[in-house]
Amino acid sequence: MKTKPFRPDVDAPEYKGAYAPYDIIKEGTIAIVVVGLLVVLLATLFGSPDERAITIKAWSNADPIDFATTALGELNGTTITAQYGAPYNTAAPGQNLGPLRLAQFAGVTIPVNTVRDFVINPLSSLPYDRSLSAALTAWKGASASQQGTWVSNYTKGATKMTWSNGIISDPASNTGPVPTMINKLTAMARSGALDQALVTGNGFYTTNYTKPLLFVADGTYLANLAQKQHLLGSQWGMMNETGSYPGQAWLWLYTFWYQVSPFSSSSNADLQVSAVMGLLSLLLLLLPFIPGLRSIPRKLKVYRLIWREYYNG
């Protein structure tokens, strides 16, 4: 019978050498005790970060203009969320990898309409207020074209928007109910009521913060705070966390791709980087079966360091 040739990167030689005593239970126990002590030591010395979550109330009080500008963006469909595409809406086709548009293919499964969900519904949940009621009635009764004209006019004056005595002022004219809606939403946000309105839309109990998180992320307040904490994508933020902590250092390669061309300037970077990391993960997984790649360890000879006692005789 013909025997198969020995393949050094696939087959292992039969070991016929000496054996040494090995107490696996003792080893495991010592490891748990040592690691446990090290964990307690590190936790005692360094603790862990816990920056409080920001609220829409805190945001709108700290920077009412940014909040009002973002709310206007939600109304005229210019925020990140409003223009996102799947899984939130159909405003954009989403990222593509050649002909593949995976997000679009998966469809809108978490519907978010920024006008309805971030502005109209929260305002409609407020106690009766004559000017607000009139504004909402005017808005709901207007054609889409009329709504667009009002919002467009208000947006033209948004760069000169001011905040004084609890009022957002915009010099633009022919803006219909928009100034009232923006002011009432800003007041609602500053009171903390908008935080609640966005999470209780589906009932009393909730564990889903999709809407308030999307709204907050549409403004610049969160990003400015993140920048101070070196958390932006351009600051390798994906692997960082607040303070001087190691964060998710194991994501360094994932983060790395975002820093280099062509990914750093690509509008499809998220999908491209995911594809690259998916491919690299697959290569790592299937390494034992890939000729050439599986020979690298034998050729590098780092194993001689590991087994130096064995090779030294």
């Binding site: 050094p8 040494a20 090995y22 920001i54 998966a106 997984l285 590098l300 000879k301």
Partner: protein, 208 residues
């Protein structure tokens, strides 16, 4: 019932098969090949020890709920032990992975051991990520709102919503840890079944 019938039982066959592949002296060995004498071997058991600490600290956090650690100094300390257990876990696991790469530890019918190790690593990355977005603090706000773009772009975001705290917490404390622990157990059993990979055979200094 005849002996032949007993021999055909699923239970009997499973027991015999398990015993054949993993007799007690292989499952709990008292000797090992003399070549297993490098510091690199420490990182496998260190990874498991860190996993034990991750689970223990996670269980304590689970006892009092996801927001306890924000308002309690004891809770914050337990959270700190959870964090540092995770950091040690990943450090040890990555060194272990590199060590096994340099040894080409898949040789001699050990490819499934390698595969389960890599899948455990990837599962652990997912477990840690869902933990980061479940912290209910600024970090979780920022990380989730940034990470959503990468996940949404692949289409996975349609069913895996990183902005949904309840969903992420369930994945973090139930589904992914369960997968990680099962995978780790399978990985360790495979190591015990196949043993530690022997060194490359060399002739005149060249590996064969």
């Amino acid at each position: 019932m005849s002996t032949a019938e007993i021999e055909k039982q699923w239970t009997t066959r499973l027991r015999k098969r398990a015993h054949g592949h993993l007799p007690p002296e292989k499952l709990l060995p008292d000797t090992q090949p003399a070549y297993v004498s490098s510091w690199i071997y420490v990182f496998g058991v260190t990874t498991i020890a860190a996993l034990v600490m991750v689970i223990l600290s996670g269980i304590i956090l689970a006892l009092r709920g996801p927001q306890w650690w924000h308002s309690s100094s004891v809770g914050h300390f337990v959270n700190s032990t959870h964090l540092w257990s995770v950091e040690i876990f990943f450090f040890a696991m990555i060194v272990h992975l590199w060590g096994k790469f340099f040894m080409a530890a898949w040789r001699g019918g050990r490819s499934l051991t390698w595969v389960t190790g890599v899948v455990t690593f990837l599962t652990s990355v997912g477990t840690a990520f869902t933990g980061y977005v479940s912290q209910t603090n600024f970090d979780s706000q920022w990380i989730s709102t940034q990470a959503k773009d990468g996940i949404n772009a692949t289409g996975v975001g349609s069913i895996f919503n990183v902005l949904n705290l309840g969903q992420m917490l369930m994945w973090h404390i139930v589904l992914l840890p369960l997968a990680a622990v099962i995978l780790t157990a399978v990985h360790v059993l495979l190591v015990r079944v196949k043993g530690v990979v022997p060194p490359f055979e060399e002739t005149n200094g060249a590996s064969k």
